[in-house]
């Protein structure tokens, strides 16, 4: 994953229990959900254009940590395994961690709803808290209430209508992790029972505490005012 240690304060997703309660750190943005990230992996050009323009116009694109996990898992299905790293290294992109309290807050209600999608729940929570739209290539799970009770105030931005000039050139690799049904794009997330949780804390080495590298934030009093 690209080193983003030079990112200025305010572009790093806050971690800790208040990660959803500090929206003022980010000026404005959109949430990219797991389907949008997979569209990037598939090489869809509208996502390329989106990330390019977001970087140029200072718009933050937040990806829920779970969507990165899902994308990393699915990236084995694609020929270009480096595409996810490229996306995560773009200046507009920020990964929003899933901390302990948020994980519990999203997970408990999910247990009571059949087919609940906890990864999209995180995207939904980010969108509702910050009042940002969700960019998704698959709005249906939200519309069906699988990410939480549908909120009419949450804008879902679907992909553009298919353009034959804009079809992805990246071929899908056959083999492990392939869905048994080629039309089934979302067979589900890995069984949580198989995940090992050490201490309940999310450690993301790629997202520092917002302080720039040494020497980039001050001039040591060299009298240049």
């Amino acid at each position: 994953v690209t080193d983003r240690s030079d990112r200025p304060r305010g572009h790093d997703a806050a971690d800790g229990p208040d990660s959803l309660e500090d929206p003022d750190l980010l000026v404005g943005g959109r949430v990219l959900d797991a389907a949008a990230v997979e569209a990037w992996l598939r090489g869809w050009h509208h996502l390329h254009a989106l990330v390019e323009m977001a970087g140029e116009h200072g718009v933050t694109l937040v990806i829920p940590a779970g969507a990165v996990t899902e994308a990393a898992w699915r990236s084995a299905n694609y020929e270009d395994d480096g595409a996810l790293d490229e996306l995560l290294g773009m200046s507009a992109v920020v990964v929003s961690p899933l901390d302990r309290s948020l994980a519990l807050a999203l997970g408990h209600p999910a247990a009571r709803v059949p087919h609940h999608d906890v990864v999209r729940s995180h995207a939904y929570a980010l969108a509702t808290t910050r009042e940002w739209a969700i960019v998704t290539d698959d709005p249906e799970p939200y519309q069906l209430g699988r990410a939480g009770v549908p909120d009419p105030d949450v804008e879902l931005i679907p992909p553009p209508l298919v353009d034959t000039d804009s079809t992805p050139r990246r071929r899908r690799r056959r083999g492990r992790h392939s869905s048994p049904d080629p039309d089934d794009r979302w067979p589900g997330i890995p069984d949580p029972a198989n995940l090992v949780i050490n201490d309940g804390l999310v450690v993301d080495d790629d997202v520092p505490d917002g302080v720039g590298p040494d020497g980039t934030d001050a001039d040591g009093g060299d009298g240049d005012r």
Binding site: R30, A49, V51, E52, V135, P160, P213, T216, A218
Partner: protein, 113 residues
């Protein structure tokens, strides 16, 4: 305190540059109003932004060379999604620029190591 200062001194370099007087005035105003710690910090932030843009452009050029550039329609969708107002013909211009970006990478022989 001393160690932090030493560390900074090891990782920074004093350079002399010539910039328009108006921009220097902007930087000084930013310092006076508290928006920047110093003129150096102001310039550093601007250079960091430019460096990030350059890195983005390099990665995107590689992607466009590999899988084809976005079309004007893609840019129009992206602008609408981000709430960015495009001037007439700007989406076409962005698409042309992406084609050139991809061609540059092809000419360079692809992605750098």
């Amino acid at each position: 305190m001393t160690r932090a200062y030493d560390r900074r001194m090891r990782t920074t370099e004093r350079v002399t540059v010539t910039v328009p007087r108006e921009l220097v005035q902007h930087a000084r105003l930013a310092v006076e109003s508290g928006r920047a710690e110093s003129v150096s910090a102001y310039v550093t932030e601007a250079m960091e932004r430019a460096a990030r843009r350059d890195r983005d452009a390099t990665v995107l050029a590689d992607i466009y060379a590999r899988s084809g550039p976005p079309t004007a329609r893609d840019y129009a969708w992206a602008a609408s999604t981000l709430g960015v107002q495009l001037a007439e013909g700007e989406a076409d211009e962005l698409a042309r620029r992406a084609v050139l970006l991809a061609a540059t990478r092809h000419a360079d022989g692809g992605a750098p190591a």
